[in-house]
């Protein structure tokens, strides 16, 4: 098989797993875990395209991946901060129960 | 001849693998190197433990272990046999798999760091372009193993200890990284080999180690502080502060797994000492030009052991900090200090040679240190007191 296609398939599968986790789990933290997996799958795509692309010396894919990692770290920090804050208000992290806009 | 002594291990390796067919040589040399590292550091660990116990003993006006073998030098062997033959207890409610994995993950992670450590001239397993980053990445993954140990034991003290340890290690990783960044700024490389080479030249017989510059000294001090915290050494040993939380995250470990934790901790210490040596103390380079004939690996290990001795000395002297004070110290003193140091390093870079930059940089570093120390003491209303007497 084409190596690039292999990496892309792995990334797609990982993305789907992350998406399924984010959509089906109740716990807010697990939804965040799913989102992290999806972001990582995207990173894998970026790196794979950079590696097998025609201009690897331009570093575009790698730069994208680096920025994506930085953004993902920020997202995780804020997201988990929100989860903790919500937990402090409602004593739960169950998304089915957090259904009100009022704190 | 002296050249040979310096390169003895490299030559030995080449000689050994030359017996093999050429397509096996690469694999064989890697395996041999890894085996050497995996055997060497536990041996050093045994020496360090003995040194620590004897040194602490002497500092406390006692002998330390002196019964096993002459002067107690067989004590590590006795300890090893004891821990190997002890019953391995896993608490009933513990998460057996995670409980089992935690020490393994720790040991693997700390050993990985040595892959990029230049232990002598031409003595590095892989000369990565980003070896400093690799080292920190491996250091970061030890935190997870500590969390695994604390959480899986199902013991409140373990969990408290693990939370403390992880919070502490995360906090001090930032100053640890930032204090190394000045070196990267000056060398222009993340490769540890290049960093050592940049320091390995002499003027008037004195080496160009980074510690002998204002920014290098400040970075070195901050690195030492952060490395003590990173390896959970006194005065930052509160994750295992036995007077508070029994033994912290490895309370529920016994026998061989406990020994693995102990090993991991010490090997981690060697790792960080080796890194500090490489970054600030010129790695394997000799301290004086006329001592250049001594094999480079001797210098490296001598410096690492000196570093360990300093850790032992500090442990023998200092009480332990409290959790919130530790955090405050990291975020409000060490981190700002490393940031100031970054600026000083930049200034140094752009001021050009001369006494002026020495004066300016030293003044900035000293003033910043004194001012921040003062603020730190003022905030807690700390200071020596005088007492009144009633007749």
């Amino acid at each position: 098989m084409n190596p690039l296609a292999g990496y892309l398939l792995v990334a797609a599968l990982l993305f789907a797993i992350g998406l399924a986790g984010a959509l089906t789990r109740r716990n807010a933290i697990l939804v965040l875990i799913g989102i992290e997996l999806m972001l990582n799958a995207a990173n894998l795509n970026l790196i794979a395209f950079w590696r097998y692309g025609s201009h690897p010396e331009a570093l575009t894919g790698m730069m994208f991946a680096i920025f994506s990692i930085a953004v993902a770290a920020a997202e995780a920090a804020v997201g988990l901060g929100l989860v903790i804050s919500i937990h402090r208000h409602t004593r739960t992290t169950d998304l089915d129960q957090i259904n009100r806009m009022k704190g | 001849m002296l050249e040979k002594a310096d390169q003895i291990f490299v030559l030995l390796l080449h000689w050994l693998v030359s017996f093999l067919p050429s397509n096996w040589q690469h694999v064989a040399s890697v395996v041999l190197c890894v085996a050497t590292i995996v055997l060497l550091y536990p041996a050093l660990f045994a020496i360090a433990v003995l040194l620590e116990r004897k040194g602490l003993g002497r500092m406390q006006n006692r002998y330390g272990p002196n019964r096993a073998g002459p002067f107690g030098i067989l004590q590590p062997v006795a300890d090893g046999i004891k821990s190997l033959t002890k019953e391995d207890i896993v608490p009933f409610r513990a998460d057996a798999l995670v409980h089992f994995m935690a020490p393994l993950v720790l040991v693997v992670a700390v050993f990985m760091g040595f892959a990029v450590m230049p232990m002598g001239r031409n003595m590095v397993l892989v000369d990565l372009d980003a070896s400093l980053l690799f080292f920190f990445a491996m250091g970061a993954s030890t935190e997870l193993s500590i969390f695994m140990a604390g959480w899986s034991s199902r013991n409140k003290y373990s969990l408290l200890g693990a939370m403390r340890a992880v919070a502490q290690m995360i906090s001090y990783e930032v100053p640890l990284l930032l204090s190394s960044v000045v070196i990267v700024m000056m060398t222009g490389s993340l490769s540890l080999v290049k960093i050592v080479e940049a320091q390995n030249h002499y003027s008037w017989g004195l080496p160009h180690w980074y510690v002998f510059t204002p920014w290098g000294l400040a970075g070195f001090v901050m690195f030492v502080i952060a490395s003590m915290a990173e390896t959970n050494r006194s005065p930052f040993d509160l994750p295992e502060g036995e007077s508070e939380i029994v033994a912290g995250y490895f309370t529920e470990y016994s026998g061989f797994k406990f020994a693995l934790f102990f090993l991991g901790e010490y090997v981690g210490m060697f790792g960080i000492a080796g890194l500090g040596t490489t970054l600030f103390l010129g790695g394997w380079s000799a301290p004086f030009a006329f001592l250049g004939w001594v094999p480079s690996w001797i210098w490296f290990f001598a410096k690492v052991m000196a570093w360990i001795c300093f850790f032992i000395w500090v442990r023998g002297t200092m009480p332990r900090l409290r959790q919130d004070q530790l955090m405050n110290f990291a975020w409000k003193f060490v981190l700002p200090m490393t940031l100031v140091n970054l600026m000083v390093a930049a200034l140094w870079r752009f001021m050009g040679e001369g006494l002026l930059r020495w004066a300016v940089c030293s003044v900035i570093v000293v003033v910043a240190y004194a001012a921040m120390g003062r603020v730190e003491m003022r905030r807690g209303h700390l200071g020596p007191r005088s007492y009144r007497y009633a007749e």
């Binding site: - | 040194g55 002497r58 500092m59 406390q60 006006n61 006692r62 002998y63 002196n66 000395w313 500090v314 023998g316 002297t317 200092m318 003193f333 240190y369 004194a370 921040m372 120390g373 003062r374 730190e376 003491m377």
Partner: protein, 213 residues
């Protein structure tokens, strides 16, 4: 400046570290089984029974008055009186302990038995290596194990033993003088011989025994 106190402390430990190699003052440990500290005269560890002469059974000063048994705070002394009597150091017939046991595991080395003994019969030993493998029988010392000669007493507590001997000699001299006087009186009276000598000598022995409660 921040860190000054820490540096001072580091200097202090370094001084002690170096000092432990040169000065006895900074390394006071005595390596016990090979080295021992000089014996301390006042030391008290565990009681023993003093005997005079060569035969321990005949020479025991103890007359089984049981004062020590009563006064012992943790009650670790067990005494059984003998049915018969034997002569003591002044030659008077006295009861002797048929059984005299002290339990090492209970004794707290307080020396009260020594203080209350009117006969200088029980003294404190300085021997401290009393550990055994048998936690019941081995720790219960009977009178044979407890009996130690007056010479031994002199060896471990020379000052105290000298005082004790002086006191006993004085008493003995007094008793002899009394006996002599009695004998002379008896000779003067030219009546029955040695019989009156016994009651006055036995009396001081019984009086404290009754009053010790």
């Amino acid at each position: 400046m921040l860190g000054e106190g820490l540096l001072k402390g580091l200097a202090e430990t370094a001084r002690n570290f170096a000092g432990s190699y040169v000065s006895k003052e900074r390394l006071t440990t005595v390596q016990y089984p090979e080295e021992r500290v000089a014996p301390i005269e006042a030391a008290r560890v565990f009681p023993f029974l003093v005997y005079d002469g060569a035969d321990w059974e005949a020479g025991l000063r103890c007359v089984a008055c049981q004062i020590c048994e009563k006064e012992c705070p943790p009650k670790c002394i067990y005494i059984e009186k003998s049915k018969d009597k034997k002569p003591d150091y002044v030659g008077k017939p006295q009861i002797y302990p048929a059984r005299f046991d002290i339990d090492v595991s209970v004794c707290m080395s307080c020396q009260i038995c020594v203080e209350v003994c009117p006969f200088e019969a029980i003294k404190m030993d300085t021997e401290f290596e009393l550990a055994t493998q048998d936690r019941f029988g081995g720790l219960l010392h009977d009178r044979k194990q407890l009996a130690k000669s007056n010479e031994y007493f002199h060896a471990i507590h020379p000052t105290e033993a000298a005082e004790v001997d002086a006191r006993l000699d004085e008493e003995k001299a007094k008793v002899e003088a009394k006996a002599k006087a009695a004998a002379e009186a008896a000779a003067a009276k030219a009546a029955a011989g040695a019989a009156p000598a016994a009651p006055p000598a036995a009396k001081p022995a019984e009086k404290p025994a009754g009053g010790g409660e």
